[in-house]
């Protein structure tokens, strides 16, 4: 017997906030639009910074590329906020959806990778002192970022097809 989150989903779905999310007819489409806007900002800005770490756009100082990253974080925030809204509104379509768990796994990898970079290298990056860091480390972080965000999008897109979410 595999433990499931059915009980939690049942409880969450019955809360007034969950009901409110389902009742407002414009909220879900608006949330989807903002979820995709956030996705674009994240892919564009963080992808650009990753490519810089990989050695492209060398004429752009690394600190300059980094100064755009708050926009990528804002995009992530927008996608996370709307994503949580979807989950609270219809938890039952996620808790038994294998695509959802894959998406969460890749979100954790992407998030841990980003937090590690921030913790270990953000100060060096702002000082343009990154030349002291082994290029292989930076390239590994960039590749992990690109690959894990790719799979976050892939499994997000698979939610309605592998599982049953809309």
């Amino acid at each position: 017997m595999v433990p499931t989150l059915d009980g939690f989903a049942f409880w969450l779905r019955a809360t007034p906030i969950s009901e409110a999310i389902r009742v407002l007819p414009w909220l879900w489409p608006l949330g989807e639009i903002l979820h995709f806007v956030g996705l674009c900002l994240l892919v564009g800005v963080v992808g650009f910074f990753d490519l810089r770490l990989l050695g492209l756009f060398r004429q752009v100082p690394i600190s300059a590329a980094w100064s755009l990253v708050p926009w990528g974080k804002a995009g992530f925030g927008l996608a996370a906020l709307t994503g949580v809204t979807f989950f609270v509104g219809a938890p039952d379509q996620y808790v038994n959806n294998v695509a959802f768990y894959f998406k969460v796994v890749f979100l954790i990898i992407a998030g841990a990778n980003a937090v590690f970079f921030e913790w270990a290298y953000a100060a060096k990056v702002t000082r343009n002192d990154i030349a002291t860091v082994a290029p292989r480390t930076l390239k590994t972080i960039a590749v992990v970022s690109i690959v894990s965000w790719f799979f976050v999008i892939y499994w997000g897109r698979m939610l309605p097809f592998v599982g049953n979410a809309f």
């Binding site: 489409p29 989807e32 639009i33 995709f36 806007v37 996705l39 674009c40 900002l41 994240l42 892919v43 564009g44 800005v45 992808g47 650009f48 492209l56 756009f57 060398r58 004429q59 752009v60 100082p61 600190s63 300059a64 590329a65 100064s67 755009l68 926009w71 790719f150 999008i153 892939y154 897109r157 698979m158 097809f161 592998v162």
Partner: protein, 156 residues
């Protein structure tokens, strides 16, 4: 017109994409369409934000190399978009919101070309002109509308 749309939708390819249930059919094409969007709109947003005045430390010249990346995203989405249209031609070909989405993308791509001409063309200046700045803001607004109409198509 309706016969053409029905023929497209009923074609072998349209039927396979829509009904085969294969993960390589509709899901894969839709995923590529999402990735293409992220690359095209995301790369465009980087240039737009810079032109509007954010991250002024980023030199403009090297950002010109984002254009081939954007065209890649554009062509991925043009091809996957045609495929997705064929699969649901009678619905998509008759809804206003789809026509609006197409029109918005046409204008967005024209704006993209104009930004390229003004900022990276032969007569380009090193400083960002108010015109280029306005185009960048228009570009962001148009991509937002393209996403909004595209997403909204799932609800009509």
């Amino acid at each position: 017109m309706m016969e053409v749309l029905a023929a497209l939708e009923g074609s072998g390819f349209g039927t396979w994409l829509r009904e085969s249930g294969s993960i390589w059919a509709y899901p894969a094409v839709l995923t590529l369409h999402t990735m293409g969007m992220g690359v095209l709109v995301g790369a465009s947003a980087v240039i737009d934000l810079r032109l509007i005045g954010f991250a002024p430390q980023i030199p403009l010249a090297p950002l010109g190399r984002l254009f081939p990346i954007m065209w890649t995203g554009f062509w991925v989405n043009a091809i996957t978009g045609v495929a997705l249209f064929v699969a649901d031609a009678t619905t998509k070909g008759t809804t206003t919101v789809f026509m609006a989405k197409l029109a918005i993308i046409v204008v967005a791509v024209i704006v993209l070309f104009d930004i390229k001409r003004r900022v990276y063309g032969a007569n380009a200046t090193a400083v960002v002109t108010p015109g280029a700045r306005a185009l960048a803001a228009a570009s962001l607004a148009l991509w937002f509308l393209a996403i909004a109409t595209g997403r909204y198509m799932a609800y009509v």
